[in-house]
Symmetry: C2
Subunit: 356 residues, 2 copies
Amino acid sequence: MMKKASKRLVTISDVAQSAGVSKATAARVLGSYGTASPDAKEKVRDAAKKLGYQANELARSMTTGRSKTIGVVVGDIENQYFGQAVRGISDAARAAGFDVILANSGENAAKEKTAVRVLLGKRVDGLIVTPASVFETQHLHDIQRSGRPLVLLDRTVPGLDVDAVVTDDRHAAEAATKTLIDAGHRRISYITATESEDPIYRGPHQISLSTVMERIEGVMAAGRAAGIEQPERYIRLGAGRGGMGDKIIADLLQQTQRPTAILASDNVVALEVFKTLRRLGMSIPGDLSLIAFHDADWTSVTSPPITVIAQPAYDLGFESAQILIRRITGTGDVASRRVLATKLITRQSVAAPPKL
Amino acid sequence: MMKKASKRLVTISDVAQSAGVSKATAARVLGSYGTASPDAKEKVRDAAKKLGYQANELARSMTTGRSKTIGVVVGDIENQYFGQAVRGISDAARAAGFDVILANSGENAAKEKTAVRVLLGKRVDGLIVTPASVFETQHLHDIQRSGRPLVLLDRTVPGLDVDAVVTDDRHAAEAATKTLIDAGHRRISYITATESEDPIYRGPHQISLSTVMERIEGVMAAGRAAGIEQPERYIRLGAGRGGMGDKIIADLLQQTQRPTAILASDNVVALEVFKTLRRLGMSIPGDLSLIAFHDADWTSVTSPPITVIAQPAYDLGFESAQILIRRITGTGDVASRRVLATKLITRQSVAAPPKL
DNA sequence: TTGACATATGAGACCGGTCTCAAATACGTT
DNA sequence: AACGTATTTGAGACCGGTCTCATATGTCAA
C-alpha cells in the first residue's frame, strides 16, 4: 500500500531484464516485428504485464519517423458544422489506427499559422486544415514543402495544389437562388459571416474564403440568368457573431427597396436573421423568405421550419481523413478535388414575395 | 526550381554545421537555455532561418520528459455542449502554451479506455476526461497511478480522488422541478439519454453518469418536498439519438395518467421531445410544460421559446484546463471539486397544467 | 604578470524505442 | 556425421534533441 507514484516509467529495458532476455528481443515481441520464439514471447509478455509496461510512443515515433497522428486545424469547433466534420475525421482516423491532434484557429489566419507550426513540430504524419484565408497561405505551402501531406477541408486555396474535399457551393447557391426566383423574388440577399469592415460587397478582394466566393458567384449567376440587374446589390458581409449581425440585417431590411428573400451563409447567420426578423415583427415567409446553408437541427423545429441546403459535414471530415491517410500510407498520385453534393431540403420558409 | 520535397528534415546538427559551431551551442541558442555569445547566437539563428530549421518536438519531449500537451477525452464533440467545453479547454491551453490532443469516446467506456491508453502512450502531461461510466473506471485509476494529473469534466467518479469541474446538477434539477411544481404540476417527467435497455427507472444501479444521478436526486427531492408520491414514476432513460427517443416519449405521453411537464436532460433530448410533441399534435405549454438542460441556441427561437437551465460549458472546459495545467506545472495539493453555477432562464414553455 | 572567477564552448552520454548485422542455435537432408 | 539453410538472439548504432561536465577564453583585481 506504500505504492509511491513512480517517477520513472517502466521501459523496455526493464521488461527485458525482468524477462531475462535482451532489450532487442523484448522490443521485437512488444513491438510486433522481427521474430521471436514462442518461449521468449511468453516470458516477455508476462514480464510486461507484471511491470505494467506501456510503450513510449514518443520514442517509437522518433525512430520510425511516423507518429500515427494527424493534425487538424479547424475554424471553430463550437460550430456544429465543424463539430460534425471533426467527428467524421475522428472516426476515419481511429478506424485506420491514427490519432487526432486538434487545434482551433478561431478563423484567424495568424492563429492558424501558429497551429500549423506546432503540429509540424509534433511531427504529425499529415494535416487537415480549413484555411481561414485565401490571402495568407505561406504556412500551407510550408507544409507541402516539408513533404507532409495536406488535405483542405471545406475550402480551397487557389494556387495550392493539394487534395481538397469540398461541397458544391456554387451550384448549391445557384439552385437555392433559383428556387427563390421561381417563387417570384427579384430582390434576393446573400448574407455571410465573413470578416469585413465594409458590409457592402464591392468585389472578390474582400472575400477571404473560397466557399463564400463560390456562393456569391452562384447567387449572381442565378440572378443574371433571370435578368436581374445588379444581383450583388443585396450581398452583405461581416454578419458574424460580434453583435454586428443584427445591425447589418436590420439596416438591410429597413431600406426602402428592401430584399424580399434572404440566403443565409451558415446556421449562425440564419439564427441571427431569424432573431432580427422576430424583433422587427416581420414574418416568415409572409414578409420575407429564407433559405439557410447547413441543416442544423433547430431549423426543423422553428415556426415555420426553414428550407435549408443540407451539407454533408460528417462525410466531409470522414473523406478528408481517408484521403489523407491514403496519402500517408500509400502512393502519391496527383492531387484530387473531391466535391460532395449538397441537398436542398424544402420546408416552409419560402413563399411568394409580399406585394409592396 | 528543382527543389525536391526533402526527405530528411533539417536537424540541429545541420544548423550547427552550417553555423560553424558545435551541436551543443546550436541547441543552446535554439532551445533558449544555457549561455551563448551574441556572435554565436546570430550565426546560429541565421543558419536556422536559412535552412528552415524546425525543432523536432518529439525529440525534445523525449529528453525533457514533458510534452506540453494535454489529452482530452470527451463524450461527443458533435454535441454543442462539449464543443463549447473543448473550446474552453483549447483557449486555456493555448494561453499557457499547451496543445490539445482530442479523442472522442462516443460515450462508450471501452473506447474511452483505448483513448486513455493511447494518450498516455503519447506521453501527454495530463488528461481531461468526461467519464462515460461510473462503473468502468480502472483506466482512470491507471492514469493516477502513472503519476500524471487527471481532471474530470462535467462528471465525477465516486472513489476516484482527483480534481473535478462540474455544475450544480442536483440543485439545478431541484430548482427546475420546483418551478414546475409551483406552476401547479404534480406529474413531472425527467427524461435522459443515458444508455439503458429498460427505459423505466428502477434504481441507481442503472445510472452510469454522475450528472444524471444527481439530477434524478434533485427531481425526487423536490417532488418529495412537495408531497408528491413516487416522484420517480415518470423518469425515463435511454432516450438517446437512436430513434428510441421518439417511442419512449410517445409511450410516456399516451398513457392515461400522462405527465403534464417534462424536464429534458440535454438539448438533444429536448429537441426529440419537441419533435414528438409536434407529431402528436400537443402544444407547449398548453398541453405540456417543458424545461431543458443546456441553453442551446435554438431554444430561444422556437415557438414558444423554451425555458432552460443554462450551463457554463465553456467555463467548465476553461477552468478544468487551468486546474490541470496548474497541477502539471505547480504544486500538488489535495484534489479539489469545483462546482460551477447554472442559471434558470425563464422563457415561455412553462404554464399551469391542463385540466384533464 | 598572475590568480580568481565568470562566461562560452565542445565532447559525449542520455532518453526509449527501432533496426542492422553478425553470431548462435535449430532443423532437415544426404 | 556433416553440411546447408532457416530461425532466434544479442550487441550496438541510431533518431534528434537536452544536459552534464570539463576545457577554453575573457575580465578584473592585486
